[in-house]
């Protein structure tokens, strides 16, 4: 009976099974947007430039999801911790007086010890609450962000270009990076086709930087420690039986995730050109989580290709809908579509049955 049913299954059904229905809908919608873009009068090259740009800002943050998913710690809703260490690194590098590309390097260097410290504490905590990571992670993120809100006001920063204008005490909620690390990566080896009349700009440096990190991550996952991480994620009991120190591997994955989160926000800032403080780090979580899930990752399985596909699809959706849909129906529904898609994706992923968890 079941065999004949399987035979009756259409090719479309098979595609849905392997590719996942939500992912199929989103891909279809994005293709539709790309087809509609020239018809509605928006320039396709500009749209592609926007999508690639947004991809280069966000990809590292999405990559930060991978180590924790691999080691079975679930979706990293605690990414604000990484973002906070990145913010500390960035602001301290500026405070120390670095400018230009040097400030970018120093931002990463300074944020590293914070990421190891925060990630270590966070990882030790997650090791004590196996099975309930995601909910705790969400609230660890929230409480650390609100704690740092107090800290941004209390830490005695002095640099006049980042502290509040009138009082001189506490950091501004947003400041420009023009004289610091804005566009240091994206302007590197930039390919600009504007002289030939095509509005296509490719931020090669940012893409290369992401490619480097993605390659390192891929290589790491194929080392002995990386394989152990995958084993811990897919079957912790088996991993323990084969002599892997489960807690240590999980701790390592959380530190790695946090550190990548720190680098991710610095790369995001260099593309965006501004630093956003106070409650802003909370807004970095959902796009990253949704992107990796749209890319085909599940709660305990993720690969580099998931990251790339997911970021392209999600950022494509975010950048294309405002222009194309607005031109089509003269109403801006892009924000609502973004909310429904990203959160719906997470809900969908949470309701899927997963093995190896528990």
């Amino acid at each position: 009976m079941s065999k004949s049913e399987q035979l009756q299954q259409t090719r479309f059904g098979q595609l849905v099974n392997t590719y996942g229905l939500p992912r199929l809908i989103i891909t279809g919608f994005l293709i539709f947007l790309f087809i509609m873009a020239p018809i509605t009068g928006s320039d396709l090259a500009t749209q592609i430039t926007n999508v690639i740009n947004r991809f280069s800002w966000n990809a590292v943050l999405v990559l930060a999801m991978v180590p924790m998913i691999h080691s079975g710690c679930g979706l990293n809703f605690g990414i604000p911790l990484g973002v906070l260490s990145g913010l500390l690194g960035g602001t301290l590098a500026i405070e120390m007086g670095f400018t230009g590309p040097m400030s970018f390097v120093m931002a990463i260097v300074v944020s590293t010890p914070f990421a190891i410290l925060f990630g270590g504490g966070y990882g030790a905590l997650l090791n004590r609450i196996k099975g309930g990571e995601m909910m705790v992670a969400t609230y660890v993120g929230f409480s650390s962000v609100s704690f740092m809100c107090i800290m941004w006001l209390m830490i005695p920063y002095k640099n006049p270009s980042i502290v509040m204008a009138y009082t001189g005490v506490g950091l501004r909620s947003m400041f420009a990076l023009d004289s610091f690390y804005a566009n240091v990566l994206s302007k590197l080896f930039e390919i600009d086709l504007n002289p030939w009349g095509i509005n296509l700009v490719i931020p090669t440096g940012s893409l290369l930087f992401f490619a480097l990190l993605a390659f390192l991550m891929w290589a790491f996952l194929h080392t002995k420690t990386g394989t152990a991480m995958t084993a811990v994620g897919s079957n912790p009991t088996f991993a323990k039986a084969s002599g892997i120190n489960v807690d240590r591997i999980r701790l390592l994955s959380v530190i790695l995730s946090t550190w990548l989160g720190a680098i991710g926000i610095i790369v995001y800032q260099q593309g965006f050109g501004f630093v956003q403080l106070y409650t802003a780090p909370q807004n970095m979580t959902m796009p990253a989580v949704a992107a990796v899930l749209i890319g085909g990752a599940s709660v305990n399985k993720a690969s580099i290709s998931n990251v790339i596909i997911g970021t392209l699809l999600f950022q494509g959706l975010v950048t294309m809908t405002p222009t194309v849909i607005t031109a089509l129906i003269h109403t801006d529904v892009s924000e609502v579509i973004r909310i429904i898609v990203s959160n719906g994706m997470v809900v969908y992923a949470l309701t899927r049955k997963t093995e190896g968890l528990k």
Binding site: F77, L125, R128, I129, K130, G131, G132, M134, M135, V136, T138, Y139, V140, F142, S143, S146, F147, C149, I150, L153, M154, V169, G170, M286, T331, V333, E335, V336, I339, I340, N343, G344, V346, V347, L350, T351, K353, K358
Partner: protein, 391 residues
């Protein structure tokens, strides 16, 4: 120890053994540990109240008003906790249903208590539908109910925005231009409930030394409390407690676990809808697109401050929690100014404390769950060893 062999291996058994063995000093320590959060809050309030410099009657008035408007919402959290589904972060769904009902009632210009009652009736089918959806999804994600409920907030929040911002007045008829956006469809960012403002609070209100006591609100709350107490004793309530204790055992005993869980979420969502209507009629207007977003967080924080945990909460926790949490909320900004000279620090501090309390409660719950599991395993191993030695 051999007498232990035939008793069921459960948490209760462990605890009772524990209590007999511990001396008084350790038992006090245990008490302090169990009520760490309320004690901490009492200390915070004791420090902050004199610093804030508010008069007693002002403070009392504020706290009683806030009790009247918040307790109903917080009580809606109790039933899912009873059925072992943890803190119902999805209560926001009910709040959204309540808001949609209020928008319709405002458009039809039905004011005062009839308006409130009509809004409550209108909100029921919507909340029940959303609760059903939420419950079904939660059954698909057993063990991850809380994070799912939390994500449902945002997902359904998106749908709410779609309906209210784009469908209302374009597909769904809205008569009055005063609540429509100038562009012709969608609802304005603030819905004004001036003619409904505090209609429940003022009915039967008693003034005593400048403190206003909204008697009708408290009567409604008392009715809900009685309902919860009664509900716990019904067949369904007993089923829910059984499901909360152990789903597998409940299933084996012939309880339809999935159905029971869905019902408990539906009840919670419907009550949350009522609660939001009571809350908003007190405030007198609401920001259409953000009124629901923080409600879940504050209600859960207040419940936890009252000494509840993820698996255990009582009506007493709700009352204590509201008093302590809102006292902190009222005095923190002013006390922050007195201590640091910066109003924003007090503001951020109270947000930090509410998040921090939830974080601590979740961590403590997960650690306790793990410890209980490993203790259960140890006890089982011990029993097996003894059984082996006897034979």
């Amino acid at each position: 120890m051999s007498s232990n062999k035939n008793t069921p291996l459960g948490q209760r058994n462990l605890e009772s053994m524990h209590n007999y063995a511990t001396p008084l000093g350790r038992r006090i320590l245990e008490l302090v540990r169990n009520y760490a959060v309320p004690i901490m809050f009492i200390i915070i309030c004791a420090v902050c109240i004199p610093l804030s410099g508010f008069s007693t009657s002002y403070l009392l008035n504020e706290i009683i008003t806030r009790m009247g408007r918040n307790i109903f919402l917080i009580l809606s959290l109790l039933i899912p906790i009873m059925s072992g589904m943890g803190l119902n972060f999805g209560m926001t769904l009910g709040a959204m249903a309540g808001q949609i009902a209020l928008i319709f009632v405002t458009d039809w210009q039905i004011w005062g208590i009839p308006g409130v009652v009509l809004a409550m009736i209108l909100s029921v089918p919507l909340s029940a539908l959303l609760g059903l959806m939420c419950g079904k999804l939660m059954n698909m994600a057993k063990g991850r109910e809380m994070i799912l409920g939390y994500m449902m907030n945002y997902f359904v929040g998106g749908l709410y925005q779609l309906v209210v911002l784009y469908f209302m007045a374009s597909i769904i008829p809205i008569k009055h231009a005063s609540i429509r956006l100038p562009r012709g469809f969608g609802i304005r960012t603030t819905v004004n409930l001036t003619n409904m403002r505090q209609c429940l609070d003022n009915e039967l209100a008693i003034f005593y030394n400048g403190v206003k006591i909204p008697v009708l609100n408290f009567i409604i709350i008392a009715v809900l409390c009685l309902f919860i107490v009664w509900f716990r004793r019904t067949k369904l309530g007993q089923d829910m407690r059984a499901v909360g204790q152990d789903m597998d055992v409940a299933q084996a005993a012939g309880i339809n676990v999935d159905r029971t869980r869905i019902i408990s979420i539906i009840i919670s969502t419907v009550f949350a809808g009522f609660g939001q209507i009571i809350y908003l009629q007190n405030i007198g207007n609401f920001p259409t697109y953000t009124a629901h977003s923080q409600i879940g967080m504050f209600c859960i924080a207040a419940l936890l401050v009252g000494g509840a945990s993820v698996e255990k909460a009582s009506i007493g926790n709700v009352f204590l929690g509201v008093i302590l949490f809102h006292t902190m909320f009222i005095v923190a900004p002013k006390a922050g100014v007195a201590i640091t000279g910066d109003a924003m620090i007090g503001e951020y501090f109270r947000v930090f404390v509410s998040y921090g309390v939830i974080t601590m409660a979740l961590i403590m719950y997960e650690i306790k769950k793990r410890r209980a599991r490993s203790q259960g395993g140890e006890l089982l191993a011990l029993a097996q060893k003894e059984g082996g030695a006897a034979s």
